[in-house]
């Protein structure tokens, strides 16, 4: 079994190398049959890796503890679902998942584009399969998931495995890694197409049209993966937060930021033929940051709470990353002429300029995070002293960036291309600006004096108004023209240009998430000792400790507290935080007592009892607006899915057309 698995991976490694060689020889040696055999090798790699992954999952489910990986990451007591997810519970399995996803993406990309881009497919395949060879090489020669414990270790039989950390036994954690990987790995496809079109000097913007959907889908996976991670941290890690600016968290955020920037700036290239170099840089940056992200999570390059030990694969990753970086720089810099812009910037107050600033600010934000994340590594190299920087650094830089981004989210979509007149600005932005100011002023008089938060709420109101007005105006005009009810008109409007209105919905979701983040400015937190039957006042709540129970079951020992939560004298919730000590792994797990509400969450952590046994200690958190982060995510998800639905009518944008607020919609072709 394990030999078969290892053999499949080894063959996949050889075949990816073959695919690279055959594609390049096929293209440059003008031997079409070699190029075709390169394509077939891509499919074969997928089959082989599917077999390998299937064998690993089979071993996990049947509990073949002779295999080191199975022994280290599962045990008999685990449910089959978690046995399955143990596939990516450890280093070797994660890398196998990485390879398998890459193989799947490659097979789909080759299958769907093999006729359309015959000319550049060999290069695409070469790029995809070089990466594949790197990863399959790692799991063949360095970290094999099919390593057998018995071999040479003098072990006769292995009765049971060590199990999966209880912290990871949550549904969010079970699907968080594959979601992130789908996002990370997916960024390779647009990158491969972009580089191929650059190297083969494809005329036109073909690669953008082909990869736009890829880019959106992978962006959605990244967004989902990051949000799942936040949700998990919030409900499981019991520290009352969802984001800690940890290197591994940052690693997932950075490619997301560059992917976001890319999704925006490709519009400039599609419609105006501008920012071509920039797009190449962004698509490459997303790819490189995805690899860097994998490096950070998988090799312990930077010490992190996520606790992946120092491992032997660090030098391989670093080499791969640096080589890729150099190749990308060479490819772009030798083809600069090809990437010349077709139009010029005409005004600072224009759609072009809003895109430009959006990109600048996103990239600055990404760079700030990168700097913070790699700071220990950089400083150690420069001064030979280890140093770190912490959350306040990120907040200082990222809060103003977030506010500016929020502002651009409102302005960007409505400002005219080329140049905006004062009149059109007034028509588009007078009402939203007034609404924004009114909201900020209202909250200010209502007793909120946190400047950044007030700005954020004001801007959120501003952006929301611009978006709702767009929907309202469009729907109204369809309603009167086609005499249909308003909801149907709104549906019709969205369907006619899914990309635009789906995009607005995504913006709306992001605004909701930012409102949720802003809530953290008003977090309340106390540590309190409570005796049985004692009541305390915390924030808006009266909290009474009604019971504490200790006990034990097959799986863990526990201490369980019950708290009655009252507001204005009425009981609104019974929270039951708990501490568990798992018997098998001897690891402790704190179960949070959580009451979610739209306005604020009440979050209670039970942290034990005083040595004299008189009182129990609790951490109380009052966390305003957190729910809006999750609501915002669902809106983003919905909006992105709408973007992926083909529009009912196909808009054809003339290259330099003005699609501002004052102009008519572009020509319609049925």
């Amino acid at each position: 079994m394990e030999n078969l698995g290892a053999l499949a991976i080894l063959l996949a490694f050889c075949l990816s190398l073959f695919a690279v060689a055959a594609s390049l020889a096929g293209k440059y040696g003008r031997r079409p049959f070699l190029a075709v055999s390169g394509e077939r090798a891509v499919y074969s790699v997928w089959v082989l890796l599917t077999v390998a992954a299937g064998l690993l999952v089979y071993s996990l489910i049947t509990g073949d503890f002779r295999i080191a990986y199975v022994q280290a990451h599962s045990d008999r007591a685990m449910s089959p679902l978690y046995k399955f997810t143990a596939w990516w519970g450890g280093q070797e399995g994660s890398l196998l998942l990485w390879s398998w996803i890459l193989a799947s993406y490659s097979a789909v990309a080759v299958w769907t584009s093999r006729r359309k881009f015959r000319n550049m497919m060999p290069i695409v395949i070469a790029i995809l399969m070089t990466t594949q060879a790197f990863f399959t090489g790692l799991i063949t020669f360095v970290l094999s998931p099919f390593h057998v414990l018995m071999a040479g270790n003098g072990i006769i039989s292995v009765p049971d495995g060590r199990g999966l950390d209880p912290l990871l036994q949550w549904w969010t954690m079970a699907i968080h890694p594959p979601m992130l990987y789908l996002g990370y790995v997916g960024s390779i496809v647009p990158f491969a197409f972009a580089m191929a079109s650059l190297v083969t000097r494809q005329p036109g913007e073909g690669w953008i049209h082909t990869t736009r959907r890829w880019a959106i889908v992978t962006w959605l996976f990244q967004t989902t993966g990051i949000t799942l991670g936040m949700g998990w941290a919030y409900t499981v890690l019991s520290w009352g937060g969802y984001w800690g600016w940890d290197p591994v968290e940052n690693a997932s955020l950075m490619p997301w930021i560059t992917a976001t920037a890319f999704l925006h700036s490709v519009m400039m290239q599609e419609k105006k033929g501008m920012m071509k170099i920039w797009n190449m840089v962004l698509v490459s940056a997303t790819f490189l940051l995805s690899i860097l992200g994998t490096t950070l999570t998988r090799t312990g390059l930077v010490a992190s709470v996520h606790a992946f030990a120092q491992s032997p694969i660090k030098p391989y990753f670093t080499t791969f990353l640096l080589t890729a970086l150099v190749l990308v720089i060479v490819a772009i810099s030798t083809n600069l002429k090809f990437l010349k812009s077709e139009s010029k910037l005409e005004s600072v107050v224009s759609r072009e300029s809003s895109f430009l600033f959006n990109n600048l600010i996103l990239l600055a934000s990404c760079f700030a995070i990168l700097w913070g994340t790699l700071f220990p590594v950089i400083m150690e190299a420069l001064t030979n002293e280890k140093e770190t920087i912490d959350t306040p650094y990120y907040l200082r830089v990222e809060v103003p960036i977030a506010l500016f981004l929020l502002f651009l989210t409102g302005v960007g979509p409505l400002i005219a291309w080329r140049k905006s007149s004062l009149d059109s600005l007034r028509r588009a932005f007078l009402v939203p600006t007034l609404v924004g100011i009114a909201v900020a002023a209202g909250l200010g008089f209502g007793g909120i004096h946190h400047i950044a938060a007030l700005t954020a709420f004001g801007l959120a109101a501003f952006v929301t108004t611009t978006i709702l007005r767009e929907f309202w105006k469009g729907s109204r005009s369809i309603q009167t023209k086609e005499s249909m009810p308003l909801p149907k008109a709104a549906f019709e409007l969205t369907w006619r240009n899914t990309r635009r209105y789906g995009g607005y919905l995504v913006h709306l979701g992001i605004v909701a998430m930012f409102v949720g983040f802003t809530g953290s400015a008003f977090n309340l937190h106390v540590v309190q000792n409570l005796g049985l039957g004692q009541t305390t006042r915390f924030g808006h709540y009266d909290i009474k400790l009604s019971s504490v129970n200790d006990g034990s079951n097959d799986n863990y020992e526990f201490s369980h507290a019950a708290l009655e939560i009252r507001r204005h004298g009425r009981q609104i919730a019974l929270l039951e935080p708990e501490i568990r000590l798992y018997k098998a792994s001897q690891s402790q797990n704190t179960i949070v007592g959580l009451r979610r509400a739209l306005n604020e969450d009440l979050y209670v952590v039970y942290s034990g009892v005083l040595p004299d046994g008189s009182k129990a200690t609790f951490q109380f958190y009052q966390l305003p607006l957190v729910s809006w982060i999750w609501i915002g995510f669902w809106i983003v998800l919905f909006g992105t899915l709408i973007c992926l639905v083909p529009s009912k009518v196909r808009y054809q944008y003339a290259r330099t057309e003005v699609v501002g607020i004052a102009s008519k919609p572009a020509t319609v072709q049925s």
Binding site: H306, S311, I579, Q586
Partner: protein
């Protein structure tokens, strides 16, 4: 060209102010990472500096008193007494034998006053092959801090 000049100025302004903010953030939170021997070599020089120290939590050294927790970090033969008085609850991964990082400063009495603790469970998630299969019940880190027969026996209000 005037438009491009305007762009240039705006860009410089934005990037400049961000760099300024970042510099402030760095100098405000910059923390030196020291090992326990390095810390002890620094002597009195270390007092008052923002530092991060790492090591393993010594078995049986964790003492909880309300929200104040004291424990001993060890690295080889070197030991360091740490007192944690922070607001946030300790992470679940913090237990005897775990690797822990403490952020804070060295007090004049030689006790490291930490305001933030990060911990990782040494045995999990990592790529290290299992050292010993017969799990010698890794340090009896029962939830001693949690067990309260006195309270448990009279549950109810």
């Amino acid at each position: 060209m005037k438009t491009y000049a305007k762009f240039g100025i705006l860009t410089v302004l934005i990037v400049g102010s961000l760099v300024w903010l970042a510099m402030g953030g760095i100098s405000e939170t910059q923390t030196y990472y020291k090992t326990i021997p390095e810390l002890q070599k620094m002597g009195t020089q270390a007092e008052g500096q923002r530092l991060r120290v790492g090591g393993n939590v010594e078995a049986g050294s964790i003492l909880k008193n309300g929200s104040r927790v004291t424990f001993v970090l060890e690295q080889g033969a070197q030991h360091l007494k740490v007192a944690y008085n922070g607001n946030d609850p300790l992470p679940d991964t913090f237990k005897a034998g775990a690797q822990a990082l403490a952020d804070g400063h060295l007090g004049p009495d030689g006790v490291f006053e930490a305001n933030k603790i990060q911990a990782k469970c040494a045995s999990k998630y990592e790529a290290k092959p299992p050292q010993n299969l017969t799990h010698e019940a890794s340090t009896p880190s029962k939830i001693t801090e949690v067990k309260v027969p006195a309270l448990a026996s009279r549950s109810g209000s």
